[in-house]
């Protein structure tokens, strides 16, 4: 089994060899490591992408807007990802973002996962029919578990989720009430041990 350190190093070096700058190659190394930690096929997709990269007519997006559609064939997932991560503080306010036609979209995913950590919010991502919930870069929930190469996505939809409770207030109170059963009712004698006990004024 390859260690994560080997995965990071080889992904970084191969990315430089594929034409990316060292700074971007460093990002890719971390990203492929992340995909592999989350049991997603990072190495498989990166290898396939680099083998086909020269044949693909890729568009590099610089400034990301609410709705983004590639003029040529497809967006490069790396450049789109790097700029998404870099611009996340402004993109956050847009709430919903879409991309049409993205090459090797799984390589875009870890940038979004890291962006979720940067803004401290969950991000929901839909890649055609595959759904991913990116939880602050701590884990990824998904209905996609196949170990396969995804060459392109027609539509990517992203939604920044506000930090809200996943439960009803009533459910919280019910649980809180039960937790109170671990407390001890204080009689007068026990109250004397509390902070400020015995004071007759509030000076």
């Amino acid at each position: 089994m390859r260690s994560l350190s080997e995965i990071d190093t080889v992904s970084k070096r191969s990315s430089k060899a594929a034409g990316y700058s060292w700074g971007i190659a460093e990002e890719i190394g971390k990203n492929i490591r992340l995909l592999e930690i989350f049991s997603l096929p990072g190495i498989k997709n990166l290898n396939s992408f680099f083998k086909k990269k020269k044949e693909l007519s890729l568009e590099n997006i610089s400034i990301i807007k609410q709705d983004n559609e590639a003029n040529k064939d497809e967006y490069c997932p790396i450049i789109a990802g790097v700029n998404f991560l870099d611009q996340i503080k402004t993109l956050e306010t847009l709430n919903e973002i879409t991309f049409k036609k993205v090459s090797y979209p799984l390589l875009f995913l870890p940038f979004v996962s890291r962006a979720a950590e940067v803004i401290g919010k969950r991000i929901f991502l839909k890649m055609d029919d595959r759904e991913f919930l990116l939880n602050f870069n701590n884990n990824i929930y998904s209905n996609y578990t196949k170990n396969e190469i995804i060459e392109s996505a027609e539509n990517i939809y992203l939604k920044v989720l506000e930090n809200r409770d996943s439960f009803e207030e009533k459910e919280w109170h019910e649980l809180y009430k039960l937790s109170e059963e671990t407390f001890v009712e204080e009689n007068e004698s026990l109250k004397q041990g509390g902070a400020g006990a015995g004071l007759t004024d509030n000076d």
């Binding site: 260690s3 994560l4 350190s5 060292w22 700074g23 971390k30 610089s62 870099d86 950590e117």
Partner: protein, 550 residues
């Protein structure tokens, strides 16, 4: 009194970093301190009469066990090489996490001797190989088998029976990634498991030499005297592989240097020096001189450095004995100011190391801070502005911004990874091919380039906007924001100029390892000795922490 930390623009110059010496913060000393109360055991020793076979040594505490597995193999004379291009060695080693089962040993027997071409697993933590100093090893076997102890002069001049040529860890060749073990308290200090491997290998070399002598002449042979064993360490040949490490791990480098600088600051802030602390400082300093005088090297560069160090130290000792009053307030601060004013960089840093000796209470807590989670600081704060970044560069890289990289002498070399051994190398970009595959280690040049680009960019732009069209300098943008938080994370020198001495980068790292003597064989590789004079595993429970100077 509040003493400022030393200026990174002085401390992080290569000539200064290349003058660092071992100290209480050094990893081999902190390793011994951490593991002194662990149970040491030789679990397996199955060598044939020639010393070839398998051995296992372990350190155990409660449920945690670390086991060194040794494989000693026959090697033809013409196959023995210390160079990184070698493919066979006298012995190969791995540190196993736990107690290895028979199947583990069988699996590793096929993989460990292959080193870079073998595959290890998450159960293995470190990997190494070593070659005999044939001259010393054979001499010791001969003497012991005849019932005599070996020639002391020969032993002292070489200092080891085996020398390692590489020690790997942290996920290399399938070894366990650091994240699997980083929360173990006993390995909070850096390179703890690499140090453990080397330390246990040292014991294996004594056991092997005794075993061969005994097999050769069972009736007459004697064991190597324990005091001679103590005087032997493990040699190590180290090349350029170490140099990029300190550039590629900026926050780790910061934490090493920072521990040293904070120690110095706190020592300088001590108002009254106790008699006991003064005496310990003087004792260590005076006894340490013999380490310098026994330092053998043929390198003219190193010989000159040793000469000026010795001259300065002798003057310094005379000054201490005749002119210095330890009873004055803040005596160590006065002493430091004197040393900084009067002596060479080697001497300044030597004395800084010595000043730490009495102050366990200052150094011990800092040792735990010497590891780092580089990844925590990987993301670039892209909401910051071009103006912010420009100010950081002006403040943190003042001398680097004055270098003219259009001059060939300042842009002479390039760092690359060799295809043969995947090892870092340095070459002249105007004479050699391959400069287009340069590694991102020309930090000074790229920082200057970044500064020039920022100077023609609107101050109000965010870094996100700047990077959207300037990603070729992304690697140094990241570093600049790291150095803003970690002042000692960057070498404040040009690592590709004509005057670069790569050996300075190696000496820095090896001083933190705890190497005592540096023997440069060129400006690109050197030999050192580790654990020379250190207590043996059986003596660890009550050892003298100042063994370095005994």
């Amino acid at each position: 009194m509040n003493i400022s930390l030393r200026d990174p623009n002085v401390v992080m110059k290569l000539s200064r970093l290349g003058s660092f010496h071992q100290s209480k913060l050094s990893f081999l000393r902190s390793f011994l301190k951490e593991f002194k109360d662990w149970d040491y055991k030789r679990d397996l020793f199955e060598l044939n009469e020639h010393g070839y076979g398998t051995a296992v040594y372990s350190f155990k505490k409660k449920n945690r066990v670390y086991s060194l597995i040794c494989f000693a193999n026959e090697l033809d004379e013409n196959e023995r090489s210390d160079r990184v291009i070698a493919t066979k060695w006298d012995a190969a080693f791995t540190l196993f996490d736990g107690i290895p089962k028979k199947q583990d040993i069988e699996r590793l027997k096929n993989e460990v001797p292959k080193q870079e071409f073998g595959r290890l697993s998450y159960k293995e933590l470190t990997l190494s190989r070593a070659n005999k100093s044939v001259r010393v090893f054979n001499h010791v076997v001969e003497c012991l088998s005849e019932g005599k102890q070996p020639d002391n002069d020969l032993i002292t001049s070489v200092g080891y029976l085996y020398r390692t040529t590489a020690v790997y860890g942290s996920g290399k060749f399938g070894l366990a990634d650091r994240f699997r073990i980083k929360d173990r308290e006993e390995i909070y200090g850096p390179f703890r498991l690499e140090m453990m491997l080397v330390y246990l290998v040292r014991q294996f070399t004594f056991d092997q030499v005794n075993h061969i002598a005994k097999s050769k002449n069972p009736k007459k042979a004697v064991n190597l005297d324990i005091n001679i064993c103590k005087s032997l360490g493990i040699g190590n040949s180290t090349g350029l592989g170490m140099a990029p490490f300190i550039v590629n791990h900026p926050t780790l480098l910061n934490n090493w240097i920072s521990a040293r600088e904070i120690s110095l600051k706190k020592i300088r802030e001590i108002k009254t020096i106790s008699e006991k602390d003064k005496n310990l400082f003087l004792e260590c300093l005076k006894k340490s001189i013999k380490n310098i005088t026994s330092w053998n090297t043929e390198s003219e560069y190193q010989i000159n450095k040793i000469k000026s160090l010795l001259k300065d130290l002798n003057q310094f000792i005379v000054y201490l004995d005749n002119d210095f009053n330890f009873e004055q307030d803040y005596a160590f601060n006065e002493l430091y100011l004197h040393v900084e004013k009067e002596y060479c960089e080697e001497c300044i840093e030597y004395v800084v190391s010595m000043m730490m000796e009495p102050y366990d209470d200052i150094t011990s807590p800092l040792i735990k801070e010497m590891s780092s989670e580089e990844e925590k600081y990987f993301n670039i704060p892209t909401e910051r502005t071009v103006e912010d970044l420009k100010l950081i560069l002006e403040k943190k890289y003042p001398d680097i911004l004055t270098i003219d990289f259009t001059q060939d002498e300042n842009n002479l070399n390039f760092w690359f990874i060799s295809k043969n051994k995947e090892e870092p190398r340095l070459a002249n970009r105007f004479d050699e091919v391959g400069a287009e595959l340069e590694q991102p280690l020309a930090i000074a040049r790229d920082i200057k380039k970044l500064y020039e680009l920022l100077s023609v960019t609107k101050n109000s732009w965010t870094i996100a906007k700047f990077l959207s069209t300037n990603n070729e300098l992304r690697h140094v943008v990241r570093r600049a924001f790291i150095v803003e938080k970690f002042p000692y994370s960057e070498i404040q020198d040009n690592t590709i100029g004509q005057k670069i001495m790569p050996i300075d980068m190696l000496r820095l790292k090896l001083s933190f390892f705890g190497a005592l003597k540096f023997d440069p064989r060129s400006d690109k590789w050197l030999r050192i000795c580790m654990f020379q004079g250190a207590p043996l595993p059986e003596q660890l429970k009550n050892y003298d922490e100042h063994w370095v100077y005994n």
